[in-house]
Amino acid sequence: MSEKAAKADGNEDMSTINHHGSHAVGGHHDEGSYLAPKGGLVSTMWAWATTIDHKKLGVMYLAAVLTLFFLGGVAALAVRVELFQPTTMVNGKITGQVFQDAGGAVAAGHAIYNRIFTLHGAIMVFMVIVPGIPSALGNFLLPIMLGAKDVAFPRLNLLSWWVYVVGSVLGVVSIIMGGVDTGWTFYTPYSTSTDWDVYMRVVLMIGAAFVLGFSSILTGLNFVVTVHKLRAPGMGWFDMPLFVWAIYSTAIIQVLATPVIGITLLLLIFERLFHVGIFDPAIGGDPVLFQHFFWFYSHPVVYVMILPAFGIISELITVHAHKKIFGYRAMAFASLGVAFVSFLVWGHHMFASMGEMASAVFSALTFLVAIPTAVKVFNWVATLYKGSIQFTAPMVYALFFLFLFTIGGLTGLPLGTLSTDLHLHDSYFVVAHFHYVMMGGTIISFVAGIHHWWPKMFGKMYNERWAIVGACLVFIGFNLTFFTQFILGTRGMPRRYATYIPEFTELHQWSTYGSFILLLGFLVHLFVFIHSLVAGRPAPKNPWGGLSLEWETDSPPIEHNFHHEPLVKHGPYDFETTVPPHWDPKDYPIPASNFAAEKH
């Protein structure tokens, strides 16, 4: 204890010096920016490929995830274009069908569409949303927020990255071989019987999901241990930023749930290759068993997808509103509570295929999950009260998140309610609901988080005005694309349809227009990011006035994160009592002079 205190005192002195010494004072090479190139191009690339630095791994994940997001997004646009019109036969000629087969059969055209929506779903779920925030932002930030030099097992971290790469490559190979048409849920017996002509690609795609699962498990394990072992001196459990709590809860789910899907997918591969008869009724199996296995994993994974988003939003709202989070402990426990209950609700995906008793139990449990989630939203809104809100791109996004996620959450209610779900299940209402949660929630907060930590990650500011323009386009496009789909759903449009009855045409067209506005929004962001990397003004250490530890180190951080092990003396949200370190309020906000400032 006294030793710890002594050490802490020593650090205290140093860090005071540090405040004024600012950028890269250190003499030896470890003190340079982690981004600084190592020798020539080849050796720099080799250094990145074999790096055990959590920051570089985080940046590589970010690049990979964004690339795959682009791929999945192109598939989504293709889907929207196909759905612009229903397929009709006019004088023996097919019209309104974009994907046509050389043979000219309508069904063969639909088969192409089925591959494309599967591709969209599989990429977005397994390669973008699940690994996105934890692997990219989590890797980069978790150790820094804890005041550590790296994660607990840096080599394991490198292994996770390469496992992720292998999994993604397998998936992409399967797509290049022609893709699969099983849907990302791989429901049996469809998935065990489709595409026998070139059956390896279904096995490949399932194999990809299996391998990606391992990457998740390894990363999760690493994060759990890191949080337990590597907190900086003075940081108790309840001094951790909520982003860390969120990543921690996520990691627990990943470690516990992912093995189940691993085994399930393995069984599925066996079923296809050796006809063991577990899921395929033709040989005595039970297809609903697959659904149980699948959702036992995939529902908790819905929270793997959303909890990190909650973490980001908690950081963003507090920092940009300069206000202590309302109900910190409730927030932390809500994360853990959601993680726990999420293991008990898998059956709500199967109301239309289970008995009464099981459905009742799952419906009740599902409503339980709604509570901690609602509490979080209440807390975020309450945090705004008497804050000092600056409308930066991350904050604008955080407010959009509140709007979209609230809709996403509330539309979950009629899906958890048994009688209404029997109408809405497997309809466009579900499609709209999970896009509001997964995209309006997770992707939006991911993009928000990228903006918030961009200056930290790359040491450059981005153009605030254009980023906000992009955010607004995304918001408008998103609502146009998906709100229409709620109505399509209640009116009777089933999901995964390549064509539809003429009554639905108008709403589908609005939805397609929306998707292109969405595209435009993301292109603006892409432009803003590239512009920032090329010509952005150097970022100060603490542009927004944050209190968590990442804002105490350089932008971008040095290779070992901190010049000296930090000592935690204030909570991450004590804005009322602490002046944020290294912070010049004049850094921000400067929207009008932003362009001028960049010319320096």
């Binding site: 043979g103 409503f367 390549a498 009855i501």
Partner: protein, 365 residues
């Protein structure tokens, strides 16, 4: 206060009883007791959600404007924790959700427990056709074309009558959804599932135009497959046509296939069960066309070849995966236990009539 409003049905009435918002959300086709119940529960959830949404977003916008950063940021001192408030906003939603759960469970039982005295019918699903087998064993012979030219059946249903469907699939999972009934249930290959409902009255002015039952009032509803099932999933549809109960009984009687010749019977079986994959005009579909198929020499995926004769057709129907025609996948499920030997023979007779490759034996000329 809110709950008492709901109890008096004031707010829910605005959505459930024929008004613009209800029509906007669901369309105007809803029919039957169950649909009313679902719409009512949905309305209840809708207004609660709207209330929370407006309060939350209202506060967000209000405070965003009120506390916009103006000069150097100093957050005003305010409590960041309030036990009473936090308990309230946990317990109140919990109460609301409990009520929501019970309402939902009631409606669910209403759908899965068949009404008393129901007429029982069998639903058979197979890629990508629906069949309904009426109590007298008959099946609908009336068909209609979707925009894409795929033929779908028209199922006649008695209006204002309790009905119980016993459903099973011949291949993968499907799901029986008539959106206007506001309910669906999965159809599985390994067990029966049931779907019970009491059909509603006939709305609208439509009357059958031709045929022996011309002048009968009717109302059409869509039947869709809601569980993804492959290539033509989006066209696995049918029309559910409500007609008065007495007329329904007469129509169904008129379909009982007695007195058909084998060729007629074969053609009917083809239309109901095979047409979604096999054309008779030579165009390639999920399966090979039957035009000029009988008697021709077919090449298989394993490189061998053989003549399409009686034995081969029978084998193709009962064990379709045994020999695969080159260029096609194993999409066809076995019809063993579904088509009898007589049915197969009838199909063979029908195939002969549409093939130039079929050379009738000497004596038959």
């Amino acid at each position: 206060m809110m709950t008492s409003l709901f109890e008096h049905g004031l707010l829910s009435a605005t959505l459930a009883e024929g008004n613009a918002l209800r029509d906007f959300i669901f369309g105007t086709g809803g029919t039957g007791h169950h649909a009313e119940m679902v719409e009512e529960t949905f309305a209840w959830i809708f207004w609660i959600s709207a209330f929370f949404f407006v309060v939350l977003m209202g506060l967000t916008v209000l405070w965003s404007v009120q506390y916009k950063r103006r000069a150097t940021p100093v957050a005003l001192v305010s409590s960041s924790h309030n036990t009473v408030l936090e308990t309230l906003w946990t317990v109140i939603p919990l109460g609301i959700l409990a009520v929501m759960f019970f309402k939902g469970f009631q409606g669910y039982l209403d759908l899965s427990v068949a009404p008393a005295g129901a007429i029982e019918m069998d639903v058979r699903a197979a890629k990508w056709d629906w069949r309904i087998i009426y109590p007298n064993g008959a099946e609908s012979t009336e068909r209609e074309k979707l925009g894409s030219a795929k033929e779908i059946p028209i199922f006649y249903m008695p209006a204002e009558t309790p009905v119980k469907l016993r459903m099973v699939s011949n291949d993968v999972l499907h799901s029986f959804w008539v959106p206007d009934f506001r309910g669906k249930f999965d159809v599985m290959p390994n067990r029966y599932t049931y779907y019970g409902f009491t059909s509603g009255p006939i709305k609208g002015e439509k009357k059958l135009e031709a045929g022996p039952f011309a002048g009968t009032p009717y109302q059409d509803h869509w039947l869709f497959c809601a569980e993804y099932c492959g290539d033509s999933h989006s066209e696995m549809a049918a029309v559910v046509r409500m007609v008065p109960r007495e007329t329904w009984a007469k129509i169904v009687d008129s379909w009982s296939g007695a007195g058909l010749t084998p060729v007629e019977k074969g053609k009917r079986l083809y239309t109901i069960q095979c047409a979604s994959c096999h054309s008779i005009d030579g165009s390639k579909n999920t399966g090979p066309s039957w035009k000029d198929a009988f008697g021709k020499t077919e090449t298989f995926t394993d490189g061998t070849s053989g003549v399409v004769d009686d034995a081969y057709v029978r084998e193709s129907i009962y064990e379709p995966a045994k020999k695969l025609v080159a260029g096609y996948g194993p999409q066809m499920a076995s019809f063993k236990g579904i088509l009898s030997e007589d049915d197969v023979a009838a199909i063979i007779e029908y195939m002969k009539t549409i093939s130039v490759n079929h050379k009738p034996a000497e004596g038959q000329k």
